[in-house]
């Protein structure tokens, strides 16, 4: 949960509505043991929570996250929580906690996030129990957030003393301490211990910081001090705090208005005119600006400048009338459904700085009041839902297109398979892997026999085998002439030649047996490869039609789900749009009514001035 969001809701006067932005931001560093878990984190760290959750769920189903099973579950729960899916998040955390083998660190995080889910669901007592079950292994950032959630939950239940006890003297992570002090200040003021509360708020209001979030917090604290001091009759203290508010920030109009009242409360009407006239130059849809239109003539009247007072009251009436027309125009635009288009167009990337940018949206009927509407929690939450429905609608439409392509792909594969199968089978029929295997076995047996008997001729080269055959022929011829002395010389030469050849074969024996064994091993590998490929090819031929058919069934089965969800999302989007328009129109009508009242007050003030002037003129 981002601190600002907690604070946005924690304005002094009213208890906050729960903020929902939450995910294990303080996720501890993880040494990746599954690449797919890293892929989930890659999306998660880019705040692309939807993609992270979809991938996480998919990889989990495929059994690719086994090494990070518990971390992945914790993350899955956190992602559901960030998407506002409290039931799913709660189920996951409760399951993790019910598993006795869950290590303490994971348990603590599960308790923390469960507490957060319960808090966001408004179940503050149960949330407190869960948050107090944390045993102390949380990272500093999460522990700080835990403490703030505890205090806020107590404040929701009007247990301000307990909230004070929770936050008093607490020093959390540096960026959280200021928020803790602010909340504690609020709790103290609301518990009637104003002096101590204002002291703490003053510490926050005096922060020296460049951080935009802390600067906004400082402004809020100063405005809170300013108005609380004004109400308790301490205008000087109010002025001091209100002077610290930035002129360009979101709180500046309120601060200027209050600063004027602080001066006026001490009779400094001339000084009061300075901030109030500054407000006069600002956009009139701002409540503080609208009030300044009455405050300025009031100050002139108090200063005795009746002419200026009447002139400014008349200007106020004209401005209120113009503003009422603009409100009517905006209500018309909202009824025509243009507000939501403007809201979606203005949202940029939907992340940091967006709310600030809203202040500068075009001055058109549909976008003019966006900034003010967005200040309301209900509208903000409603728009969040509308945005998620818009996202779902786009997501489903894109899948709908893809499914068409998937169907074509399955069909094309089936056709291609049927076309290519006969040729492939004919080719494979020419190869008999069993025969190849048997030949390899026979060859091995011959080699082993030759080695066992040291049959050097078995490893003779082709040329040597030719010579051996030639010598065998010569010997046979010589046998036919046995006893004939004329062949003695030839007999001797043949004996010598065979001797030389055998000597060579013996000399090469070692090298040749090594080479033959190596060749046999290579042959084994090649035969194994051939066998594996033949099996794979056979399996592919047998399994491909079934696999394709199964994929076709999945594509066919999922299509109606996409279609029916798209219809329901459209209906929900329309309903959500109408709901938001009702809120916006209600808010603008209330503003219009306020302007009517201001207008009556201005007219009454003019009448009073004329009345007094008339009475003074008539007096003797």
């Amino acid at each position: 949960m981002r601190p600002t969001l907690i604070l946005a809701a924690l304005i002094l006067c009213a208890p906050p509505a729960p903020a929902e932005e939450a995910v294990p931001g303080g996720l501890p560093a993880v040494k990746i043991q599954d690449l797919h878990y890293g892929d989930v984190l890659f999306h998660f760290y880019q705040h692309d929570h939807f993609s992270a959750l979809v991938r996480l769920a998919g990889y989990r189903e495929q059994g690719r996250l086994d090494a990070h099973a518990r971390d992945a579950e914790l993350l899955r729960g956190g992602l559901y929580l960030s998407l506002g899916q409290h039931r799913e998040a709660r189920e996951i955390f409760e399951r993790l906690l019910a598993d006795l083998s869950t290590p303490p660190q994971v348990r603590d995080q599960a308790w923390f996030y469960l507490g957060k889910v319960l808090y966001a669901s408004g179940l503050y007592e149960a949330s407190e129990r869960a948050l107090r079950s944390v045993s102390g292994t949380l990272p500093a950032g999460l522990d700080s957030e835990r403490r703030l959630l505890l205090a806020q939950g107590l404040m929701y239940r009007d247990q301000f003393d307990a909230a004070i006890a929770e936050l008093d003297g607490w020093q959390g992570a540096p960026e959280w301490t200021a928020y803790g002090q602010f909340n504690l200040g609020v709790a103290l003021v609301r518990a009637g211990r104003e002096e101590r509360g204002l002291q703490l708020l003053d510490a926050v209001g005096s922060l020296v910081t460049e951080n935009p979030e802390l600067t906004a917090l400082r402004d809020k604290a100063n405005v809170a001090i300013g108005y609380a001091s004004l109400q308790s009759g301490r205008p000087a203290a109010a002025r001091l705090a209100l002077n610290r508010v930035q002129l360009a920030g979101s709180q500046s109009s309120k601060a200027l208005l209050g600063a004027g009242w602080a001066d006026a409360a001490e009779g400094g009407y001339q000084s009061a005119l300075v901030p109030w006239l500054e407000l006069h130059g600002r956009a009139v849809q701002d409540g503080a600006v609208q009030e300044s239109y009455l405050a300025v003539p009031y100050a002139y009247a108090e200063l005795g400048a009746i002419g200026e007072a009447v002139q400014y009251y008349e200007q106020a009436i004209a401005s209120y009338d113009a503003e009422r027309l603009r409100i009517d125009e905006s209500i018309g635009a909202i009824r025509a459904g243009r507000l939501l288009q403007a809201a979606l167009a203005a949202e940029g990337d939907g992340r940091q700085g967006w709310f600030g940018q809203l202040a500068a949206v075009p001055d058109s009927p549909e976008s003019r009041y966006l900034y003010h509407l967005m200040a309301g929690h209900e509208f903000q939450e409603g728009l969040k839902s509308y945005r998620s429905l818009e996202f779902m609608s786009r997501n489903l439409s894109s899948w709908s297109d893809s499914l068409g392509a998937f169907s074509d792909m399955v069909e094309t594969r089936q056709q291609a398979f049927a076309t290519r199968l006969p040729a492939a089978e004919a080719r494979l029929a020419t190869v008999d892997v069993g025969e190849i295997n048997a030949r390899r076995d026979r060859l091995r047996a011959r080699l082993e026999a030759a080695v066992a008997e040291r049959d050097v001729t078995a490893l003779a080269t082709e040329q040597e085998r030719g010579w051996l055959d030639l010598l065998d022929g010569v010997d046979a011829e010589l046998v036919a002439h046995a006893g004939d002395a004329a062949y003695d010389d030839a007999r001797e030469k043949a004996r010598l030649a065979r001797g030389v050849l055998l000597w060579r074969l013996h000399a090469a024996w070692k090298v040749r047996t090594w080479q033959a064994n190596r060749a046999m091993r290579e042959l084994d590998a090649a035969v194994y490869d051939a066998r594996t490929r033949a099996t794979a090819s056979s399996r592919a031929r047998q399994g491909a039609p079934e696999r394709n058919a199964a994929l076709g069934v999945r594509v066919t089965a999922v299509s109606p789900r996409v279609g029916s969800l798209a219809v329901r999302v459209q209906a929900a989007k329309a309903a959500q749009g109408r709901f938001l328009a009702d809120i916006a129109i209600g808010e603008l009508q209330a503003q219009r009514q306020r302007l009517d009242e201001y207008s009556v007050q201005a007219r009454y003030a003019i009448a009073t001035i004329y009345d007094r002037a008339g009475s003074a003129g008539a007096a003797p």
């Binding site: 560093a29 189903e61 998407l83 039931r87 309120k254 208005l257 009031y298 839902s385 429905l389 899948w399």
Partner: protein, 179 residues
């Protein structure tokens, strides 16, 4: 006029509470809660549907028998500021990815980017990765890493890891094959 002053004060002080403090009309609260419940249910179903479609798409386009995925990860990355990664498989470019600052941040925090998911036939294949970025002293830096992968029947995952070689004050590019 004093009465008006009091009115204005009260109005000003309650600017902040006007939204949250106002009592909400019961029909609107009921309508909101009905809509919220419907949005929650739809979101759950859309997440489940996306999960199923995510798996279906992978099974259809990248069946396990031919699937290969290349991932990029980063361990610290002090000596190398990554700009882009190009992947070639058997001399054919299959991915050329330029990283944004946000993606680099995600990598540094431990995220792993699946830069390419594709199909390869069984057998040997050469994968070449080129890392482009800035090395120490902001000097342009380009390094390549080559790996020969023996693709078998099951899915194959290749991790390209950028880490720091502290002793040499240089980046190191490690290639690891996961089954």
């Amino acid at each position: 006029m004093k009465a008006m002053l009091v009115t204005l004060w009260a109005l000003a002080a309650c600017v902040a509470m006007a939204q949250a403090g106002a009592q909400e009309a019961p029909p609107r609260a009921t309508e909101r809660s009905v809509l919220d419940a419907e949005v929650q249910e739809l979101r759950r179903e859309v997440v489940d549907l996306n999960r199923d479609l995510f798996m279906l798409e992978e099974d259809l386009l990248f069946p396990a028998s031919t699937q290969i995925a290349v991932f990029v990860s980063m361990d610290v990355g002090t000596f190398f500021a990554l700009d882009s990664v190009q992947i070639k498989v058997d001399d054919k470019e299959v991915a050329n990815y330029l990283y944004t600052a946000r993606e680099l941040q995600a990598l540094r925090r431990g995220g792993v980017h699946r830069i390419w998911l594709g199909n390869l036939k069984a057998g040997e294949h050469e994968i070449v990765a080129f890392f482009t970025g800035q090395g120490t002293h902001e000097r342009d830096y380009k390094r390549g890493a080559t790996l020969t992968v023996a693709k078998s029947v099951g899915a194959k995952y290749v991790e390209l890891k950028i880490s720091d070689r502290l002793r040499k004050l240089q980046p190191e590019f490690v290639v690891r094959v996961w089954e």
